[in-house]
């Protein structure tokens, strides 16, 4: 495979292709007929997905820095360049995006019946935006893509959404815009105040910022990303957006757009402001918000009458795990956060697809309108149960790996937060199982539900790979973990100020280097030397 990719000079064009092919597809969709739009969109997004698969081989973990980098000056006078790159953190986000985009487009075939050309064009535009966010290594470029994703999403929610679609769309747009615009000011501050000299990622890393400055800038960035995530008190746009969005919109929103926030945490927030990120108050605040998000969102989810809103709140809870994982500032925590991001993308995406299928069949999202579907639609019920279980983090599914690592990592530095967050495991069951019961189990007492068709072949094609991934990642996450590890280590080393060790380790070949790398980081951190644990009492 590697040879094949090399012969195609894969590394030269792949990132550009990933970003711009959806736009080509969009143009194609626009000039085609409405009937062909959906197939074209699916074909184009599938092409992008297939191409992105090559990153699995094309990306070598190595030292954890950016790979496949390319940089062309864009706005030279401002020090802005069109720079792309991929590292262990973004590579999976990219693949998640290409995957869920294709799936979401496939999942919208029945849902979207009107204005199809516009819809699929916007979906492809959205894909470009999101991929740009994950691939940009220039802050300006990143910002442009970050904002760009708002527009297609705004229209997708606003045009094809439900009753209160406009309220939801505007709320989504304004909420997120507040944060990102403040972040823009912060970016400018780094550029000038920190004498970055350019908008390149490295330049920003080397910006010269004092602790007070870092704290302010941290707040601005954290607000922008925190709204996107969303972190606890900033989350109320999400349920509305999810409830009103059409199925594919919800899928993309949950699977990918939220990840832009946590991705921002890892890519920008921690490395840019290492001093602020380590500040005890900051850590405490973020952990508290994460923990509150986990518990609170679970509670609120449990009493939702609307299934989609319920799942929307579960997103908040899941992302809480990511937040605490990240701000635990431990390797396990960060890795766990990453896995939760991937896992949540797949499982919640699948849940939204399933809810969409319910809506297509019954035109209601209220849980009480269902019941006993397990008898009428066993395949549907099976997929639903597996997805729900992955969502609540049953071992053997992807959800567990992420939550376990995130909690473990949090426990290492902030035991209390981890313990409280761990109760989220109970509350996950508390919100998810009643819904499963009220939708799939109980008596099949509503006549309309007796006619509930089971999964069609297309729907099986949609759900099968997602279910496979949930279980696959749950059973064997190590290939993913080891690809992410060097990059995550790098973030961590940056925060811990252990940059020097990183350089030496990164020159070693990847697999052996991994071991030495870990060793270095550990001795650098100076924790848990064998026998040290006996120091207690």
């Amino acid at each position: 495979m590697t040879d094949l990719l090399a012969s195609l000079r894969y590394e030269d064009w792949i990132l550009h292709a990933l970003i711009w092919l959806p736009l080509v597809g969009m143009a194609h969709v626009v000039v085609s007929s409405p009937e062909r739009a959906k197939n074209l969109a699916f074909v184009w997004s599938s092409i992008v997905f297939v191409l992105s698969l090559g990153l699995w081989w094309g990306y070598e973990p190595g030292g954890g820095g950016f790979m496949l980098e390319s940089s062309t000056p864009w706005i030279e006078s401002w020090g802005v360049s069109y720079s792309l790159g991929v590292d262990g953190i973004s590579v999976f986000m990219v693949m998640l995006t290409t995957f869920t985009s294709a799936i979401a487009i496939l999942g919208s075939f029945e849902y979207v019946k009107t204005r199809r050309k516009a819809f699929y064009a916007l979906m492809l535009l959205l894909e470009t935006g999101v991929l740009g966010v994950f691939l940009a290594t220039d802050i300006f470029l990143f910002y442009v893509f970050f904002e760009l994703t708002l527009v297609p999403m705004y229209f997708i929610v606003g045009i094809w959404g439900g009753e209160r679609r406009i309220y939801a769309a505007v709320k989504f747009f304004l909420y997120t815009a507040v944060g990102s615009l403040l972040m823009l000011v912060a970016i400018l501050y780094i550029y000038f105040g920190g004498n970055a000299g350019s908008f390149g990622y490295e330049a920003f890393l080397n910006a010269d910022l004092g602790l007070r400055e870092q704290l302010w800038l941290f707040s601005a960035f954290a607000l922008a990303f925190g709204i996107k995530v969303p972190v606890f008190p900033l989350h109320t746009w999400l349920p509305d957006a999810h409830v009103e969005a059409p199925t594919p919109g919800s899928v993309i929103l949950a699977a990918v757009l939220l990840k832009m926030g946590t991705y921002g945490f890892m890519r920008f927030l921690l490395p840019f402001f290492p001093a602020a990120a380590q500040h005890p108050t900051v850590v405490a605040v973020m952990l508290v918000l994460g923990v509150v998000g986990i518990i609170y969102a679970a509670w609120v989810a449990a009493v939702q009458p609307d299934a989609k809103k319920l799942v929307a709140y579960t997103s908040v809870a899941h992302m809480g795990f990511v937040v605490i994982g990240i701000f635990a500032l431990t390797l396990n925590g960060l890795q766990g956060g990453m896995v939760v991001m991937i896992s949540h993308g797949i499982s919640t995406g699948a849940l939204f697809l399933l809810l969409g299928m319910m809506y297509e069949r019954r035109h209601t999202r209220l849980i009480e309108d269902f019941g006993g579907l397990g008898r009428a639609a066993p395949l549907f019920a099976t997929a639903f149960v597996i997805t729900a279980l992955a969502s609540i983090g049953l071992p053997g599914t992807s959800g567990f790996v992420g939550e376990f690592l995130a909690l473990l990592g949090t426990f290492e530095t902030h035991a209390l937060a981890a313990i409280i967050a761990a109760t989220g495991v109970v509350f996950a069951a508390y919100y998810m199982l009643p819904m499963v019961q009220r939708v799939l189990f109980n008596r099949l007492d509503k006549p309309q539900n007796r006619k509930f068709p089971d999964l069609s072949r297309r729907e099986i094609v949609i759900l099968a790979p997602m279910v496979a991934l949930m279980i696959g990642i749950g059973v064997h996450p190590t290939p993913i973990l080891e690809r992410m590890e060097p990059s995550v280590q790098r973030v961590l080393a940056r925060v811990e100020g252990a940059g020097a060790e990183l350089e030496t380790a990164s020159e070693e070949p990847p697999h052996i280097g991994l071991e030495g790398y870990v060793g270095d980081a550990r001795s650098g951190a100076g924790e848990r030397v064998p026998g040290a644990a006996a120091r207690e009492d």
Partner: protein
């Protein structure tokens, strides 16, 4: 492997120059360790069964759902031939279990006596990041071998029983797929080589329990029960999770081998860490093994098919907590406080559940509470450090409780037919509707009496030996010279004795109400009462045999000596004790180091033999007396009996109001809190703030636009005011 060899070779090459490389010079190998026979396959087989049965289940469900959509009911048994989806599971379900059992037995027999280190085989690296290395690995040692035998053995028998019990069920393949999946997870639980792997099985069996309790998911109560089981279990799982974090923090690994090897060196005995770890593990175990106060799910779990109750909620899954405590014996031995807590919870559970069992009418509920009670005994044993006794009781309990449940299943099966044909509605599980069944199902009655005597602790049935050992060790450790909780242990011992007698009582009550006295099913129903088919009775017979002889695997030394003549022929004196020695000896040594040697007499005086004799006599007397007393009572059918009206009996009948208390203190307040969070915090405060910001902007805009009156004079005035402001600030305020 390859790299290792290469390294050796290259070293050799550099040393000896042009030495031929065709045969590696040195590949140092330790003395060939024991190789079990296909340990992975034991686990894999039930999974395979799950996959096959699951596929069949989906096929069947497709047909069934098509019928539902067309408004009819699908009956797979209506046609000439039963469809393949309902024939194959009969072969696959029990089949994989039989092979797995055979393999387990093979490995059990082949396990060398001098195996001091568990055999561990790693299949792949499950979660590996940083210095966290969690292998997907199985381990085989004496303890897991015993558990494997119980799981696959009893599991096989129950699979066979299920073939008869479930044969008319539409979801037949689904049932077997769940059951196979359960066995898979249970095997992962007992064979996992670390806490993380164990946790996979731990939650996996919880899942299967959930699915099987709610097997008849169209019934709201049944699926409620499943949900309850899952959620309560998860409460315990949080404890397990946090315990794992603590273990990882203390040891840097979750691997059993490394943890237990390092425990003594790295954790101070009685220290906060080890106490916390063990208490948290205890929380997990309490959830899974239905200990007070997390016991409430198990009685509800009887909503599942009866074989499920036998397999999951009596023989195997609920004992996982005991297994886990026994597995972590080293840690518990290091934490005397936790031990006292474990034992205390155990004995309290035993007592509470036994009292409740006395006043239940549902045959399965009685058995459920009796299970909880017996689990309490096991926890008592594990708590006082008698890990072997705990496992011993676990094993014998698996035999006789499975027998009881399956027997009850046969009764219910029979009653079901009676209820179906009888007049009016008849609760087929209510003992008040039974009575006199001995006449119709003599074999079942006899077999269940064996189990009853076994659970009552009457010599020489299995329960006598195991329960007696627990009681005796409690007494012995109570008297240990430096046990700080000696007095507490003495109380435990007394309570355990009383509870043992209560066990005898409520079991006798069950037997009397079910099988003796007059029949209360009504004539029409009674005509359809019948003995179960052979496919159901054969497993019962096997289990009955085990209930009789199963206790002989661990006849205490003292007893053997006293009854040398009888036991001399049996080479099994304290066999289990010796067998488990490699697993438990570390804990035993720590315990002796901490508490001193166990005493040789009970707190009230008297040695092991005398107390054993006394207890079996007391139990026998209880059985005899209560049988006599209860047998003379006139029972009326459930329809005419509302149970005890007031006082303690009513409290016991209503299960000490645990469920009501939880409902009032936790469930409903939590729901109210949740709703409040949603309606108030989310909708009013946060969204209120957000919308208020928007409203404020609009209001401000509206107010400001009021200045825009359209009047030129007004505009000129505002302009002038602006001029004055600007002039004022530049000129006069300087």
């Amino acid at each position: 492997m390859v790299t290792g060899v290469t390294t050796v070779e290259s070293t050799v090459t550099s040393l000896a120059g042009a030495m031929p490389l065709s045969t590696p010079a040195f590949t140092v190998q330790e003395a060939a360790p024991w190789e079990p026979v296909l340990p992975g396959l034991i686990v894999l087989l039930p999974l395979l069964g799950f996959v096959i049965n699951g596929f069949l289940a989906l096929r069947a469900a497709a047909a069934s759902s098509a019928a539902v959509r067309s408004g009819t009911e699908w009956n797979p048994f209506a046609g000439e031939a039963t469809p393949a989806t309902h024939r194959l599971p009969t072969l696959v379900g029990p089949g994989v279990m039989l092979i797995a059992f055979a393999l387990a037995l093979l490995n059990f027999i082949g396990m060398p006596d001098d195996l001091h280190e568990p055999f561990v085989r790693s299949y792949w690296s499950w979660i590996a990041t940083g210095d966290l290395r969690i292998e997907a690995a199985l381990q085989l040692d004496q303890l897991s071998a015993v558990m494997m035998l119980v799981v696959t053995g009893v599991g096989f028998l129950i699979h066979v029983f299920s073939v008869g019990y479930m044969k008319d069920d539409v979801g037949y393949p689904r049932y077997f797929s769940y059951l196979n999946l359960f066995v898979f997870f249970m095997l992962v639980l007992v064979m996992g080589s670390g806490y993380a792997t164990m946790f996979v099985g731990w939650e996996g069996v919880g899942l299967c329990s959930y699915l099987l309790i709610g097997y008849w998911f169209s019934d709201r109560e049944k699926s409620d029960a499943g949900k309850k089981a899952f959620i309560v279990n998860r409460i315990g799982d949080v404890g397990f999770l946090v315990a794992m974090f603590l273990i990882y923090q203390a040891f840097g690994t979750l691997d059993f081998g490394e943890v237990f090897a390092g425990a003594e060196g790295q954790l101070a005995a009685g220290g906060a860490t080890v106490t916390a770890i063990t208490l948290l593990l205890m929380l997990g175990a309490a959830g899974k093994s239905a200990q007070v106060p997390l016991h409430v799910w198990l009685p509800d779990a009887m909503a599942g098919p009866t074989p499920v109750s036998a397999l999951i909620h009596a023989a195997t899954m609920v004992t996982a907590g005991v297994y886990m405590v026994a597995r972590s014996s080293v840690l518990y031995a290091l934490a005397p406080v936790s031990q006292a807590v474990v034992a205390g919870v155990g004995v309290l559970t035993a007592l509470v559940a036994a009292t409740i069992a006395i006043q239940q009418y549902d045959i399965k509920k009685v058995l459920a509470y009796s299970t909880v009670s017996q689990l309490g005994f096991m926890f008592l044993a594990a708590g006082i450090g008698a890990f072997t006794a705990a496992i011993f009781h676990l094993v014998t309990h698996a035999f006789f409780k499975a027998l009881l449940f399956l027997g009850a299943g046969a009764v219910i099966h029979s009653m079901h037919h009676a209820a179906h044909h009888g007049e009016g509605h008849l609760d087929e599980q209510d003992m008040r509707n039974m009575g006199g069944l001995r006449k119709y199902m003599p074999l079942t009655c006899a077999l269940m009496w064996i189990a009853t005597l076994a659970i009552a602790g009457i010599w020489p049935f299995a329960g006598f030996f195991s329960k007696d050992e627990i009681i005796w060790y409690t007494a012995a450790w109570a008297g240990a010279e430096s046990n700080p909780f000696g007095a507490l242990y003495a109380v435990y011992w007394a309570v355990a004795l009383v509870t043992a007698l209560m066990t005898a009582f409520y079991m006798t009550r069950l037997m009397v109400m079910t099988f003796h006295g007059t029949n209360r099913t009504g004539a029409a129903g009674a005509a359809h009462l019948h003995e179960a088919p052979p496919v159901m009775t054969l497993p019962l017979i096997a289990l009955a045999a085990l209930s009789i002889f199963g206790g002989w695997i661990n006849v205490p030394e003292g007893l053997r000596e006293s009854f040398a003549g009888l036991f001399g022929v049996l080479p099994m004196s304290e066999w289990l004790h010796h067998w488990l020695e490699p697993v438990t000896h570390a804990a035993a040594e720590i315990q002796v180091a901490g508490f001193g040697e166990a005493a040789h007499s009970a707190p009230l005086g008297g040695g092991e033999v005398s107390w054993a004799l006394a207890s079996t006599v007391a139990a026998a007397l209880t059985v005899a007396v209560s049988a006599r007393l209860l047998g003379t009572r006139k029972y009326v059918a459930a329809a005419a009996d509302s149970g005890p009206r007031a006082g303690l009996p009513r409290v016991l009948h209503d299960k000490w109001y645990f469920d009501e208390a939880y409902e009032a203190v936790i469930v409903r307040p939590l729901l109210r809190l949740s709703r409040w969070c949603w309606r108030f915090i989310d909708d009013v405060i946060i969204d209120g703030f957000v919308n208020a910001t928007a409203q404020f902007a609009r209001l401000a805009g509206w107010i400001m636009s009021l200045f825009q009156t359209g009047q030129v004079n007004m505009y000129a005035f505002v302009l002038t005011v602006g001029v004055l402001l600007v002039l004022g600030t530049t000129v006069f305020l300087r």
